[in-house]
Amino acid sequence: MLHARLDLMPETAPTLRSHVTIGKHSLQPLAAGALYWQEQHALLVADLHLEKGAALAARGMLLPPYDTRATLSRLGKIIEALDPQRVVALGDSFHRSECADRLVDDDFDLLRSLQKGRDWFWICGNHDPHLPESVGGTVCSSLTIEGVVLRHEPSDDARTPEIVGHLHPVARISRRGTVVRRRCFATDKSRLVMPAFGAYTGGLNVMDEAFKPLFYWNQVEAWMMGRHAVYPVLGSLLLPD
């Protein structure tokens, strides 16, 4: 437990800032791809896309059926280390609503054990608009904590601080002829787009058109996921694909 904690907590390099600001609040992006809101004892994740493998299998691509396991175990490690009171999944938690009923027993038990003893919120996304009761927790379309709105897709409202998913942001930088492309938390301090957490989820470059209307671009930072740390990178250093 302690070991896991040490492994997970120094999430940003010591010389760097470790927290992003959203509105008046300070939140900690984790290298594993989740966002920790310590004052609220809340852990935020987005776009788990559980059972994406099974959904593709139904279309004839028999991909390794371990994506749900991989995603939940990674989430489990974070939960074990931080023991949050609340977990909020910001939508597209299941690749398809129907899949939510079809978790294999082991995966289902794993999910149950993660939910045990804490408040669990499933925010609905475009992939999982109708979650069955069997998934446990509270199903909702959005959630507001301390004036920060958590929802799946970004809204048109630029004034209210919000944390969203949906877009699967990745950032790309280059230096000395080497290019690094990683999932990232994209933020302009008023809005934050979470990286996709799921094992089979692809990514969309932050420089893509889809991100253009979301941010005050001179404020943008991409918090890029390294192996053991998250690195805040200035928007001006980001490259398109």
């Binding site: 028999l62 371990y66 000395r176 094992a199 089979y200 209307p213 890029m224």
Partner: protein, 871 residues
């Protein structure tokens, strides 16, 4: 594959036996009408096939090889031609190249017409219209000329039974080029299937000279598990060797380049050679070299000689035009890649020019064979080394050719991803019994040692994914019938299979397009696309570039400006030093055999006399400044340069093995505290650089070279590296496509390529973590071990040099090290380099943040430009 002495004697007796076959009158008359005499090997082959044997004919180019292959069938068909109509294909001819099948069909028409035979021949390739394919199913021709992929396609239809039920003969042309490859694996499986459909068919293989004919002959014979002798061989007929080739190495007055592959220095001499001959074929190793040489030649082409270009990325219609012009004698020279390696008769070629490294003795012999298709006259070849090491390689290849040495690659076990494709194809044709299919599969030589366990794993993979966590049963691709046979679960699966058939998975390529500069600034975006295409480059290379990076391509330093659709837009950079060197190495590694000869040549001063003055002088400089290693030693040089410390070693094991070695060495150097930053490899050497003084570390015993190069690097270090290696991911992607796990890209879907690459990487990560023993990972590893990471060779190398490392500490770069230091295509240390880069970039943010006031609090409206980007 071993053969015992008795088998060998039996085989040799058979070779020695005089031919007893004679030609029927009709054929004898035709031969005399052309004032030809049937050649001994043609009659020998005829005799064996008429006796019902499978046979391999080994003959040099111009030996009437193709006619020999077809003679038995033509004679057989001449006797029964009228009654056969619609009875199914009698003879199936398979060629690795579409163009070759078309060419042979044309050549075959002459004897058939002149003898008035009633034999229908047709071709079937990817270009054959759907209507003709449908007709071929209903009314099959007597002789069908096609490619391995088309056979797999035909066999996936129910109609295969009618088409092939009376098949008498399969002719496999250019077998040496097919056998030790995934295409060869697929063809072997298809041959086994054809034998099931028509048990008394005979297989004839036609091949150029190879290093181990027996291995190749086994490919043609059905193998039976558990019976003696262990391996079955086809009979071998060897044609008398033609006249010895007349090979020279180009001598030039100009300075010999230290590195590079362009051979620009030799253009005047090459041009003179073209002028002195009727038609010259100029072989180079890569497409970009072909483009470059072609452009350079035209700049030199004062007399406007008709010089053409032929390589695999060119449009098909363009290639056809060039081929037709060659046959019609309208061209004086053609710059080409391996697309023209194989046995097509392209008119009166009287000179072959090999520009760059020959790579292997057999490969060179093949290319030289393109000149002069008449057996009795010597082929004429000119070797043009592009740099100093290549001079030695050319000399080694020339000596090997004089001695008639061959170095074709050894056979290897059949690939499991290909087997997966074949199993699915079998089910598409009709339900199969797994025991019978296993027997059939193991009768194919590449799969003769396949265990039932592996077969069942592959079968399970095809059916349900074969995962330990079996929750895809309801999505199974194969289901069992009441009788227990496997059938496809849905017709859609057969359709998908037919779209994905084949084993050739092209790396995604991007065009490199030169944009024009106006007044020093780029034109607005729209106008950029109008520029000239310089060539194609692998997508993964471009992914490593950021806009503004410079790289070498097509002999120029270019600046990468960005991607537009499938084009990488570049401008000319007036820099001499490219920031990111281009990947322009050959696709074929230097053969072990030639490498050994080069090492010997280097080691023994008496050989230097045979080398051009400049090269000999270069080696003398090396010997004075540092060390010239003996043949059994490996030299390591360490020296400082700039703010970095370099280590250059000379394994001579080819670029692939060197790259793997570079990956593993940097891991070990990292642990030893040498802080390595990157490495670069060429065919002969490997250079690693880092932040710490390697010379000092070796001097004071902090770094032991023996330990560094210990064979144990192929244990944990390899495992750890493979876990995140892009090369392994690339191998996995290929296996995933061939095996049908993910679908291949089709024209028009190019844009999805980047996503697909990403997702096959994600699949790899998940599979490796949760089921490391999965059969597809085994397949990917087997590929990587012989292919991209060349483990087999690396293992042999480490064994060879153990205790024989010679260290030379020098004050600066040595003459021998210059080529690799100039080499292009460097790799950075994996893993941690990415982290370092992230950290540095993030720290830049900190620095900028200190000056934050300057930016002020000016907010821009959402939807505005990416203002920050324009800085």
């Amino acid at each position: 594959m071993r053969i015992n002495g008795r088998t060998r004697r039996r085989l040799e007796e058979e070779i020695a036996r005089p031919p007893s076959a004679s030609l029927p009158k009709q054929f004898a008359a035709w031969f005399s009408s052309r004032s030809w005499r049937p050649r001994t090997h043609q009659l020998e082959l005829l005799e064996r096939v008429q006796r019902g044997a499978d046979a391999l004919l080994i003959a040099p180019t111009g030996g009437g090889k193709t006619l020999a292959g077809f003679l038995p069938s033509l004679i057989d068909l001449a006797g029964c031609s009228e009654t056969r109509r619609g009875a199914g294909v009698h003879t199936l001819y398979v060629s690795p190249l579409k163009a070759l099948a078309t060419d042979i069909a044309r050549n075959l028409a002459t004897p058939i017409a002149e003898m008035g035979l009633s034999i229908r021949t047709e071709t079937r390739t990817g270009d054959t219209p759907q209507s003709r394919r449908a007709r071929q199913r209903v009314l099959p021709p007597d002789i069908l000329l096609t490619t391995p992929e088309q056979i797999a396609l035909m066999l996936s239809h129910k109609s295969a039974v009618q088409i092939f039920v009376s098949l008498k003969c399969v002719i496999l042309d250019e077998l040496h080029a097919l056998s030790a490859s995934k295409r060869g694996d697929l063809l072997a499986l298809d041959l086994a299937r054809l034998r099931t459909l028509s048990p008394d068919l005979r297989a004839i293989g036609l091949s150029a000279t190879v290093a181990r004919p027996y291995e190749l002959s086994a490919y043609l014979a059905p193998q039976h598990k558990g019976t003696a002798p262990a391996t079955h061989f086809a009979e071998i007929v060897t044609a008398e060797g033609g006249a010895r080739a007349d090979i020279t190495i180009l001598k030039s007055e100009a300075d010999l380049p230290w590195a590079g592959h362009a051979a620009r220095y030799a253009l005047p001499e090459i041009y003179e050679a073209i002028k002195a001959h009727k038609l010259s074929l100029m072989f180079v190793n890569t497409r970009s070299q072909a483009e470059l040489l072609f452009n350079e030649l035209w700049q030199y082409n004062e007399e406007n000689l008709p010089i053409a270009l032929h390589h695999g990325s060119l449009d098909v219609s363009q290639r056809r035009k060039v081929e037709a012009a060659m046959v019609d004698g309208k061209l004086r020279a053609v710059v080409c890649t391996s697309t023209l390696d194989l046995g097509i008769d392209w008119g009166d070629v009287d000179l072959v020019v090999n520009v760059g490294a020959p790579k292997g003795a057999s490969r060179l012999a093949q290319r030289i064979g393109r000149a002069n298709h008449r057996l009795e006259e010597p082929s004429k070849a000119l070797l043009v080394p592009a740099n100093r090491f290549e001079v030695m390689e050319c000399q080694a290849a020339l000596e090997a050719a004089e001695e008639g040495q061959q170095d074709t690659p050894p056979t290897r076990p059949g690939a499991l991803d290909v087997l997966a494709q074949h199993i699915l194809g079998s089910a598409c044709a009709e339900p199969f019994d797994s025991d019978l299919l296993f027997t059939e599969v193991t009768s194919a030589a590449p799969y003769r040692d396949l265990s039932r366990e592996s077969f069942d794993q592959v079968l399970a993979f095809v059916a349900t994914g074969g995962y330990a966590l079996a929750n895809y049963d309801r999505y199974a691709k194969l289901k069992r019938t009441k009788e227990g046979a496997y059938r496809v679960a849905h017709p859609r699966i057969a359709q998908q299979y037919r779209l994905n058939v084949g084993t050739i998975v092209e790396l995604p390529m991007l065009r490199v397009r030169l944009a024009r500069l106006k007044g020093g600034a780029l034109k607005p975006t729209g106008a950029l696309a109008g520029g000239r295409i310089l060539g194609e480059v692998e997508e993964y290379f471009i992914e490593q570039l950021a806009p503004g990076d410079t790289f070498v391509f097509a002999g120029e330093v270019l600046r990468f400006q960005g991607l537009r659709e499938m084009d990488a837009i570049v401008t000319r950079a007036h820099a001499t030093d490219a920031k990111v060197p281009a990947y322009a190495g050959g696709k074929f590694p230097l053969s072990t055999y030639l490498a050994e000869r080069v090492r010997l040549m280097l080691a023994e001063r008496r050989h230097w006399a045979k080398l051009p003055e400049q090269v000999a002088y270069w080696l003398k400089l090396q010997s004075a400044f540092s060390v010239v290693p003996s043949a059994r030693e490996m030299l390591i040089e360490t020296f400082p340069r700039g703010q970095r410390y370099y280590m250059v070693c000379y394994p001579f094991e080819g670029r692939l093995a060197h790259q793997t070695l570079g990956m593993l060495l940097t891991r070990r150097l990292e642990r030893a505290g040498a802080a390595p930053l990157g490495f670069v490899a060429n065919e002969y050497a490997l250079a690693v650089w880092g932040l710490n003084d390697l010379s000092a570390m070796i001097r004071n015993g902090r770094l032991s070279l023996g330990d560094l190069f210990d064979e144990d690097m192929l244990g944990d270090d390899l495992d750890a590296w493979l876990a995140e290696s892009n090369l392994m991911k690339r191998s996995f992607r290929v296996c995933a496509i061939i095996s049908g796990l993910i679908e291949r890209r089709h024209p028009g879907q190019e844009k999805s390529g980047r996503q697909m690459t990403a997702s096959s990487d994600l699949i790899y990560d998940v599979l490796r973590q949760h089921e490391p023993g999965h059969v597809l990972l085994k397949a990917a590893f087997a590929d990587a071990a012989t292919g991209l990471i060349d483990l087999r060779r690396l293992g042999e190398f480490l064994g060879r040099i153990a205790g024989r490392i010679r260290h030379s500490e020098v004050s600066r770069v040595s003459p021998l090290a210059v080529p690799v230091m100039l080499e292009i295509g460097r790799e950075s240390v994996p893993g941690d380099a990415g982290e370092t880069l992230l950290r540095e970039t993030a720290e830049e943010l900190v620095a900028e943040a200190l000056g934050e006031d300057a930016l002020g609090d000016v907010k821009q409206s959402p939807g505005g430009e990416h203002a920050a980007r324009q800085t």
